[in-house]
């Protein structure tokens, strides 16, 4: 470990913190996926709060503020809380978040009662116990990082070894049960992994901010992939990068590491949710805008074709009046048509279709007629199999024979 830290080209304390944050990010990212995918994202929140009575009991038992004992108490109480959450969920019809909320608030209340009860017995000795949970990343020591590395390695190894059964459990508990997997043991295992990840996070980012470290890498990675193994790897990588970037930024800005890491993680999620290829908000918005433009251009195309049949080539204003579309829409549609060479304007502003435009208009009209005919006569067509055509391409999806019969049924092609 010491050699590894020596390899990082950073001042020693920064290197220790960066390595710790990377370990935390990998573990939280991978293990967090298990919580997020089973809709128990906030289990970290509950475990963070339910550690309080554990800390109090550990303090009562040992009579001193020994970090290792307090951490062990926190972990035990967290495990008990987690088992209770799973039990409430399985034993009642309460949704996961209600079970999490009940355990969170009751355990925290219990912790407060224990602490205040303590305050009257033990004097000022117990002061600041609850700070231990919500305190910020203290200076990490190399020894802490070593412990974290061992815990992280164990957690990752367990996830890697149990990937298939865990995946089955997360996505289809019923299937996992009937295929003979020990679902209860697996659930306990997943819960224990979460507790391990949170214990790792306590010292680095603090309990509350740990909630985000479990969720954010998975939420960001989820936008980029649909496959479980890829998701786990991506989430681990995201977590590590976020941890290192956040820790280094915090060191440079003389700020506490925890909040900075969480803000970097939030930025990563925002980036993924906005810009993920093919599914991000910006992509969806662009797709919608393009679809609307195409729709508008096709509508104006058909209107123009109809207007040209009725009389002289119209101006934009006349076309708007005839078709009942807002003038701005007509102008926009005409501009798109002109851009794609489907229509052009004369010198006096009268619009007419080009040859490609006329063909496109006929195709559009035929496709509309076909769809209307399918809706009206589709059942009488007697197709050999139960085909359902694509509304935008009836001819392509039903085949020429059926399409011609549909056109005949529609009245020999109305136009």
């Amino acid at each position: 470990m010491g050699g590894l830290i020596g390899l990082i080209p950073l001042p020693y304390p920064d290197a220790v913190v960066a390595l710790g944050a990377a370990l935390l990010g990998i573990t939280a990212g991978v293990v967090g996926c298990l919580a997020v995918l089973s809709q128990r994202s906030l289990v970290g929140d509950a475990l963070a709060h339910s550690a309080l009575p554990g800390v109090a009991v550990a303090f009562i038992a040992t009579g001193a503020k020994d970090p290792a004992a307090l951490l062990a108490g926190a972990a035990c109480a967290g495990l008990v809380g987690a088992v209770l959450i799973v039990g409430i969920e399985r034993g009642t019809r309460l949704p996961p978040d209600a079970a999490i909320g009940v355990v969170l608030s009751v355990f925290f209340s219990l912790g407060i009662v224990l602490l205040t009860h303590l305050a009257h017995d033990a004097g000022a000795e117990q002061a600041g116990l609850e700070r231990y949970l919500f305190g910020q990343a203290a200076g990490l020591l190399e020894r802490d990082v070593q412990v974290m590395a061992v815990l992280a390695a164990v957690a990752l190894a367990v996830v890697a070894a149990g990937l298939r059964p865990i995946t089955a459990l997360l996505f289809d508990r019923g299937f996992a049960a009937v295929s003979g997997l020990p679902v209860r043991v697996l659930e306990l295992l997943v819960t224990a992994l979460l507790v391990v990840a949170i214990v790792i996070g306590l010292r680095t980012v603090g309990a509350i901010l740990m909630v985000a470290m479990l969720i954010a890498p998975c939420a960001a990675a989820r936008q980029l992939t649909d496959r479980m193994p890829v998701l786990l790897v991506l989430a681990g990588l995201t977590g590590a990068v976020v941890g290192v970037v956040g820790a280094l930024a915090a060191a440079r800005g003389q700020a506490p590491a925890g909040p900075v890491i969480v803000l970097v993680a939030s930025a990563a999620v925002a980036l993924a949710v906005l810009g993920a290829p093919g599914r991000g908000v910006l992509w969806t918005a662009r797709r919608t805008v393009r679809a609307r433009r195409r729709q508008r251009a096709e509508g104006v195309l058909v209107d123009l074709e109809t207007a040209m049949h009725a009389g002289a080539p119209p101006t934009a204003a006349e076309l708007a009046a005839v078709s009942g579309r807002p003038p701005a829409q007509v102008r926009g549609g005409l501009a798109d048509l002109a851009g794609s060479g489907r229509a052009r304007a004369d010198a006096d502003g009268r619009w007419r279709l080009t040859e490609t435009g006329a063909a496109a208009a006929h195709a559009a009209l035929e496709s509309r007629t076909l769809w209307a005919a399918w809706l009206e006569h589709g059942a009488h067509l007697g197709l050999p199999d139960a085909r359902e055509p694509d509304p935008r391409d009836v001819r392509g999806s039903l085949g020429d024979v059926a399409a011609d019969r549909l056109m005949a049924l529609a009245g020999g092609g109305r136009r």
Partner: protein, 312 residues
Amino acid sequence: MSDHLVIVLTAGLVATACGLLGPFLVVRRIALMGDAVSHAVLPGIVAVFVLFGTRAPLPVILGAATLGVVCVLLVDALRGTGLVRQDAAIGLVFPMLFALGVLGVHRYAESAHIDLDATIYGEIAFAPFRVWEVGDLLLARSAVIMGAVVALNLMFVLLFWKELRSTSFDPDFARTAGFSPALVTRLLLVGVAVTAVTAFESVGAILVVTLLIVPAAAARLLVDRMAPLVMAAVAIGWASAIGGEAVATRLDASIAGSMGLVAGVLFLCALVAGPRGLVARAVARRRRPRPGPLLAAGAPGARPPRAGGGAD
């Protein structure tokens, strides 16, 4: 009025305000919204301190309420993208805001000892000492404020009862029936944020978070219909307030913590002894004749395997 009475009354009013909204949060699977708000208010408090240099209650509450509303609306917007599930959205938004707040404290306000405990999280034990004098009358401030919140929530729930109920269980039906699920949800969330922040100031955060979730969850184990659910939640909340005050006096421990603990015990009672509780189920299992091996899988009443996480 005796001090105990004021404390019970204040806590009971908080329980009523929370019990009116909590059941809707539980059936909508956003029970943890109260906890999220309790952490998300920090940057609002810091911003008020940095911008106006004050820690007076009113501006601080306004700043906190603003951030509470920002928090719930951000969660709703993130969920609305369809890319992140509700629970993950909550867990992404409030730590981010909390982190902003912690950084703000670190940068601007470390010397001022801004701290959630000191600025906004009240302590219910002080409720009897914070009074308004109206003529000869001494009015407990927290009780009056919480009474107003109860009235507001009651009005909201009664006015929007149909909308709240239908959008909670079947948003698609609600939309076809002419309600706007998005609008009703946002109104409910804003109501929760405002209730929570106001109640934080009177009784502290953990009691509010507890009273939003635990009575509603316990009531959910006892009754099925929405109106009894709300009433049961309010009743369980009051029982926790009264019992918690007694326990706190006996143990000489935190009042809010004791009330939360009593609420937890009541939840446990519902879990064990409720109509679908562990006892009732064990009895039913014993009475039912054991199915033969062939029938085992499809026997009437055999619990079907519950779908795991994947189902939406």
